[in-house]
Amino acid sequence: MEHTSLLERILRGIALTLVVIFFMFPIVWIFMMSFQTNETILRIPPQLIFEPTLANYTALITGKLMTAAGTLDIAFMRNLGNSVFLSVTSVAVSLLLGVPAAYAFARHKFRGSEDIAFTLLSFKFAPALLVLLPLTLYFQKLGLANTYIGLIWVYQLICLPLILWIVRGYFEDIPADIEYAYRIGGHSWFATFRKIALPLAGPGIAAAGLLAFIFAWNNFVFALVLASADKQPVTVGALAFITSSGIQYGQISAAIVLSITPTLALALYAQRYLVEGLSLGAVKG
């Protein structure tokens, strides 16, 4: 592989440049649009050089949109808050439920353990609407329709299988002998779990939590079906925002930038674990 010709290196360089342009351009472009007024956005040909303005972000954050026809209220910050609340709470609940279960599946092969683990996994692959559509009817009867509790419950379908299978892998990686040694020293099962297993699997648990957060944040269909405007996260809110604000393209771009920044930042932070997480523990990065 060392003796690559100059021509090959040039071709590789060109190919990589094209790849980077294709995958980065939309993000860069929307980012640029978010600092423009409608006036410069609508100019043809599209402008690469413009005077950046923070007006779009100010309008979103203050929730007041000044238009020629008057001021318009935007509830986008509410959507952002919903996204944060739903994702954080769902992941917290998932960790609380999923980590002990993952430990049980990793350490104790019990009757039906594999069946249960696979049933949980299969939720990840079943069509979401199969469950969601009847669930809307049930939720209306139970009074869970358009409540945070109902949404967080359903979000477990995204977070739990992910956390269960990733964390299980990390527990399996801990040699059982360490735990036996600690237990022979007279410590209870719970102390062993808390003092040995949890700290050793700590990085894995954190990574699984971050990933689950990203997936919860990026989810669209659950909230589209089960939540109305005041409980909707950014993914659904941004879509509604487009139809309601009509032609405020600068604000829409700014809303998209605000909505994707948290997951992009987390992904950069957790990129070491992404491979393992995305493959549910099947491939190590």
Partner: protein, 307 residues
């Protein structure tokens, strides 16, 4: 429990608690999910009923009618066709592109690692928001891509709003979002391959095409299979991108399974047909996920073995 354990490593009291303990630990997680199993069964029941939200009084079992009517329903065949076409095109293109990029980035270097991390960004963008981004860029009035298309002679290229290019546009967005997924799995696979076969081949002066087809590809196959099936399972169920981009339109150009079921449920309030559609999709994904899980488990065993 502490008192019992302190005698010997394996006293009888310890064994009893060991039997119950795993159930206690996994029960809460299970209970939360069982609540979700009920709607699944409800879906099965609905799919055998004539059930319209607009006519609740006419609700009754019609047994297989929802399914039988699919045979003569051109809308259903359109759904099946579009779903398979969408899944097939996206997965094949993403696999080829992802493999090519993974090969380009195979060598560990600062630049390559940096690029591979950058390429993850589309994958971390919510698919629904990615669709909105592309919608802004393909806007006929000011969209930069519409402008670029006009530069290369495609005047009035309508992207997602024309039936002839709508599928192309959503496939493009899908490729943008999900190619990095295949790329990153295959890159991890490529970098974990043993080096000896490649060194031996280099020593013997084996042509590089031979090395690629006879050594790299066969050794990479489990990774390719897992990544492909993973994507196929996801892609046949695609909803976010298509719904956010066109709501299944124009007309019924893009009414894939989940979009069609959603529209049936909320617009035509035909619960029975919507449920039957979802059961058929479920059957397809169940079949695919069984193949997937076998491959995935094999790969997982291997990854754990390396640890």
């Amino acid at each position: 429990m502490t008192a019992v354990v302190s005698q010997r490593p394996k006293p009888s009291g310890f064994r009893i608690s060991k039997k119950v303990l795993p159930y206690v630990l996994s029960l809460p997680a299970l209970l939360v999910c069982i609540g979700i199993l009920i709607p699944f069964l409800t879906s099965v029941v609905y799919s055998f009923q004539r059930y319209r939200l607009s006519q609740p009084w006419a609700r009754q079992f019609n047994w297989g009618d929802n399914y039988i009517s699919f045979f003569t329903d051109p809308k259903f065949w359109n759904t099946l066709k579009v779903s398979l076409l969408y899944a097939g095109t996206t997965v094949v293109l993403e696999l080829l592109l992802g493999l090519a990029i993974a090969l380009l980035l195979q060598k560990r270097s600062t630049l390559n690692n940096f690029i591979s991390i950058m390429l993850l960004m589309p994958l971390m963008t919510a698919p629904a928001l990615a669709a909105l981004m592309w919608k802004l860029m393909t806007n006929p009035g000011f969209g930069v891509l519409s402008y670029l298309a006009s530069l290369i002679g495609l005047q009035d290229f309508r992207w997602a709003s024309s039936p002839s290019t709508a599928l192309f546009t959503v496939v493009l967005v899908d490729i943008w979002v999900y190619t990095p997924f295949i790329m990153i799995l295959l890159l991890a696979g490529l970098r974990s391959l043993p080096t000896q076969p490649f060194e031996a081949a280099a020593l013997d002066g084996v042509p590089r095409s031979f090395v690629f087809f006879r050594i790299t590809l066969p050794m990479l196959t489990p990774y390719i299979l897992t990544a492909t099936l993973f994507r196929l399972l996801d892609s046949i169920q695609q909803f976010d991108i298509i719904y956010a981009m066109t709501q299944g339109g124009p007309g019924d150009t893009l009414t894939v399974f989940q979009v069609e079921a959603y529209l049936n449920f909320f617009q035509s309030t035909n619960v029975g047909r919507s449920a039957a559609l979802m059961i058929i999709l479920w059957a397809i994904t169940y079949f695919l996920s069984n193949i997937f899980i076998k491959n995935w488990l094999r790969l997982r065993e291997r990854a754990r073995g390396q640890a």
